[in-house]
């Protein structure tokens, strides 16, 4: 047994299961007597439902029941709730229209669920769903942001004027306008953050189960946070108390945010199982995923920076339109506000910032957090704007960044947009990234590429993000309708092995390994004697789940606190067994020792005494060695770093070849370097995907054109270069691990680095900015329409 604690790249405990086909994903689960649900969805973006005739479907072979929105509306069932309330700049609450489980009266996006067929096989349910006759009257629809806010635009929801969900501001407009009025220069950039479809490889699935003897419901679901689903669905939708509702999120095949939210299908199968008194299973076909999983991003912004003659940032002024889709998904309102605008200082000491965000309803799938959630939008805006400043002023883009960095000795650093950064060292991550990327020798590579007829460019992004969103009281004051702590239960068994029950959830992050390493480190228990259990509300005390790179920083910290309690109690037991004073007991390497002596008891001696309390301080201490901690962080964590992309463009075709990518990230303390590298590589691939390939496209009438993997370009192995990733870490100062989170940095830092590289490659064509994704067609058109400045000179 080698070193297995914090800092060891131990191989993952979960891998043998996954590599042998023994994973247990939701669709792999089958319950006795199980029926299957198929959902008939709207095939049009906006229409009034005049009539639904289910008679033929109900009589089709194998069909048990057909339910429509009217059946749901007749029961005591609520709408799908939103977990965050934003207030308008005038103090009034956001518009929060009803989000029915099955459409009532109107459908508002392609994919909106209208009816559900329950049958004895998936095929029978699907066949019967075709027989449902729906009379629609089509209504005018609106899909994109600028159309939705135009005067006279169709209303997605009756009474929501101008499709405005909220009109929110941060910062003092008068102060910022004053800075702009007196500035040496203002640099302006208009930009779009393209709409994305998360596409975790496992399609969503859900099984509702109803125990006819106990009256208990169980929901198996592809979720990143089963306790949150239990709370939202139980309390707000189906009105089932927690003690009668168990939610299990077994192995989950990727999430990236899209599996945080409470979806209608979860409520449908749970409710239907109670009605038909048999288990009901639903598994999305990929086509359904495209039109029912929450999408991501979709911002249109205008950004302006006021600068002095040396390029020092004086003030930042931003207006953003953010697409909410047709209904408010669970965390949607928080994404373009507290996860976006509060990040607009980035790594820079910009003294004043004003941002106005208008969130807008459209006839599209709801939009919510997707890997990074607001921070990629903020980073893309800032890092494109900084490059535009460099372009306009001819100040070197590295020097411009260095000049404006928050210095390493300025922490804790209070930004003008609410956040207080605890630690960071942006000069160092920049310096190391420049070295690793060979920045200094780039012009040689550009010249060599030119000899081959290729356009080579290099781009940089120096970014910051915020993870482990907290503390609960603060997020509550900002509109969160839940706490954002985390829970850990550490159970030391009688013979010294340990089970960790964590409220976080692993859907690829490797918690079964990483969290076990914390136990190795703190309790000295070997890795193979530590089991990590997650994803079941019947086993875990509580939990808020996994998103926002919070599992280690928040969930790991809860484990540290619970293990502190284990050690504190263990010391009392050991003191009794060793006939010593508690103050003299030290714990290290799995052993309690009387300080300065060789008298000791192992953790196993102590745990056995705790469960077999024959010789035990029973008057002062309860038996057992099982402790729980709820950890509510004092602040966010602030990972940051530098990403550098190098591209080569074929001017004949416009194809962008990603040739090199370098990331140097500060993620705080690293528990398993192998897993951190994997997280960053995966995030970078998604960022490259956003920058070069991916885009969710609706036609102006609201039909989803990119509705399959044939139309939505996912990055494939040949699209991604070998990735150079490294970390250069400063410690988080306010959690016991010092960890900051690594799950999203890759997707946050990379898109502007790639676009900055593409713009750099095209610099001879007079390109100052281009929108993502930088497809071959787009670049070819630019090249065709622009005369190279060099040729003209």
């Amino acid at each position: 047994m080698g070193f297995e604690g914090i800092g060891a790249s131990v191989r993952r405990k979960e891998d043998v299961r996954f590599l042998s086909g023994k994973g247990n994903y939701t669709d792999d689960i089958n319950r006795p007597g199980q029926l299957h649900a198929y959902i008939r969805r709207a095939d049009r973006p906006h229409a009034r439902i005049d009539a639904i005739d289910t008679a033929a479907a109900a009589k089709a072979p194998g069909v048990v029941r057909v339910f429509t929105g009217a059946d749901i509306a007749a029961e005591n069932i609520g709408g799908i709730p939103c977990g965050w309330q934003i207030h308008n700049k005038d103090g009034s609450p956001m518009a929060e229209p009803m989000h029915p489980v099955l459409a009532v009266g109107k459908v508002r996006h392609v994919g909106d669920p209208v009816a559900v067929v329950i049958a004895d096989s998936r095929q029978a349910a699907k066949n019967a769903a075709e027989l449902i006759e729906i009379d629609y009257t089509d209504l005018p629809a609106v899909a994109n942001l600028t159309d939705a806010v135009a005067p006279g635009a169709p209303e997605v929801h009756d009474g929501v004027k101008g499709n405005l969900c909220y009109d929110w501001v941060i910062g003092d407009k008068a102060v910022v306008d004053g800075v702009f009025a007196n500035a040496h220069r203002v640099v302006k950039l208009e930009l779009t953050n393209n709409r994305l479809i998360p596409n975790a490889m496992e399609p969503r699935a859900a099984i509702g189960d109803f125990d006819t003897s106990s009256g208990d419901y169980t929901l198996y679901t592809t979720s990143q946070n089963p306790h949150v689903i239990r709370l939202l669905m139980g309390a707000f939708v189906l009105h089932i108390p927690e003690n009668k509702l168990r939610v299990v999120a077994p192995d989950v095949g990727g999430g990236f945010g899209s599996k945080i939210y409470h979806y209608a299908e979860e409520a449908i199968v749970t409710w239907a199982a109670g009605r038909v008194r048999r288990p009901v299973k639903w598994t999305a076909e990929r086509s359904e995923s495209f039109m029912s999983d929450a999408h991501g991003r979709d911002h249109v912004s205008t950004a302006e920076m006021a600068i002095d003659k040396d390029g020092v940032f004086l003030g930042l002024r931003i207006t953003t339109l953010a697409n909410m889709g047709a209904y408010l998904s669970t965390f949607a309102p928080a994404v373009p506000t507290y996860l976006y605008a509060t990040l607009l200082a980035g790594v820079y000491k910009t003294p004043v910032i004003y941002c106005n965000v208008k969130a807008v309803f459209t006839n599209t799938v709801p939009v919510d957090a997707y890997r990074g959630a607001g921070r990629p939008e903020a980073t893309y805006l800032l890092e494109r704007l900084v490059d535009a400043i460099a372009y306009d002023t001819a100040i070197d883009k590295i020097e411009l960044r260095r000049r404006n960095f928050i210095p390493a000795d300025a922490f804790p650093y209070q930004t003008p947009v609410a956040l207080q950064y605890d630690s960071g060292d942006y000069q160092t991550t920049l310096k190391v990234a420049l070295q690793n990327a060979g920045w200094e020798s780039f012009e040689g590579r550009r010249a060599e590429a030119k000899r081959r007829g290729k356009l080579r460019g290099i781009g940089i992004s120096t970014y910051l993000e915020a993870c482990g969103i907290a503390p609960s009281a603060v997020v509550g004051s900002l509109g969160a309708r839940a706490g954002l702590y985390e829970v850990a239960n550490i159970r030391v068994h009688p013979t010294g092995s340990v089970t960790v029950f964590t409220g976080t959830h692993s859907h690829g992050q490797g918690h079964e390994t990483t969290l076990a390493q914390l136990v190795v480190d703190q309790l000295g228990v070997p890795l193979d004697q530590v089991e990590v259990v997650h994803g079941d509300t019947a086993k875990i005390p509580f939990g808020m789940g996994t998103y926002g790179s919070r599992s280690l920083a928040v969930g790991g910290s809860a484990m540290v606190k619970a293990m502190d309690k284990i050690i504190a109690k263990g010391k009392k037991i050991a003191a009794h067994l060793l006939e010593a004073s508690v103050q003299d007991i030290e714990f290290k390497d799995n052993t309690f020792t009387v300080a300065g002596t060789d008298r000791s008891k192992t953790l196993t001696d102590v745990s056995l005494a705790a469960y077999v309390p024959h010789n035990y301080p029973i008057e002062e201490l309860e038996p057992g060695l099982d402790e729980t901690a709820f950890y509510d962080p004092k602040n966010f964590t602030f990972p940051g770093g530098c990403h550098i992309a190098e591209v080569e463009i074929d001017p004949e075709t416009g194809v962008v070849d990603m040739v090199n990518f370098t990331a140097v990230d500060d993620v705080g303390r690293v528990v398993n370097p192998m897993i951190v590298e994997g997280q960053v590589q995966g995030g970078v691939a998604q960022g490259i995907g956003q920058a070069l390939f991916e885009s969710a496209i609706y036609d102006p009438e609201g039909q989803l054109l990119s509705g399959s993997f044939m139309d939505y370009t996912m990055p494939r192995a040949n699209d991604i270069p070998p990735l150079s990733v490294a970390t250069e870490n400063t410690m988080c100062t306010h959690n016991p691990l010092g960890s900051k989170g690594c799950g999203e940095v890759g997707a946050i830092g990379s898109p502007p680095a790639v676009i900055n590289a593409v713009v750099d490659a095209l610099k001879d064509y007079g390109v100052r900015h281009l929108e993502m994704p930088a497809t071959a067609a787009k670049i070819w058109s630019i090249i065709q329409s622009a005369q190279p400045r060099l040729a003209a000179e």
Binding site: E14, S20, E202, R286, Q681, G682, V684, M710, I720
Partner: protein
Amino acid sequence: MPQVTLTVNGQQHTVEVEGRTLLVELLREKLGLTGTHVGCDTSQCGACVVHIDGVSVKSCTQLALQADGTSITTIEGLAAADGTLHPMQEAFREHHALQCGFCTPGMVMTAVDLVQSHPDGLTEKEIREGLEGNLCRCTGYHNIVKAIAAAHPLMHAEAAE
């Protein structure tokens, strides 16, 4: 209903299927071999790749009836009977070539065929091109490519023994 007789992971099965039943549905629903996954409905993602008579095939693109008389290996049949992982499985574990594990069975089955059909070696570019039919959303492919490159000599050394 028509019958199909096929050998899966060394065991012969005769199963009644509908004419429209896909091979992947037969494997998952009739034989309970849920290691083979369904990630799309357009044959783009490769999560369902199995070997039919030793050749990698997307099992969502074949009718179960087309597999009559064939010998199929799924991810469950790749490791040795005693549970010893196949060199490709071991390489994936060693090089952290999987995260959520959902694309992994198809990715591993594709990789095994790729290595077997290139006994003289595989360049990084050939590996990346060979994965054209398989999507992974977690890893960025970096470690998958590393794992396949590492498994190549091990698999061919084993085959030579």
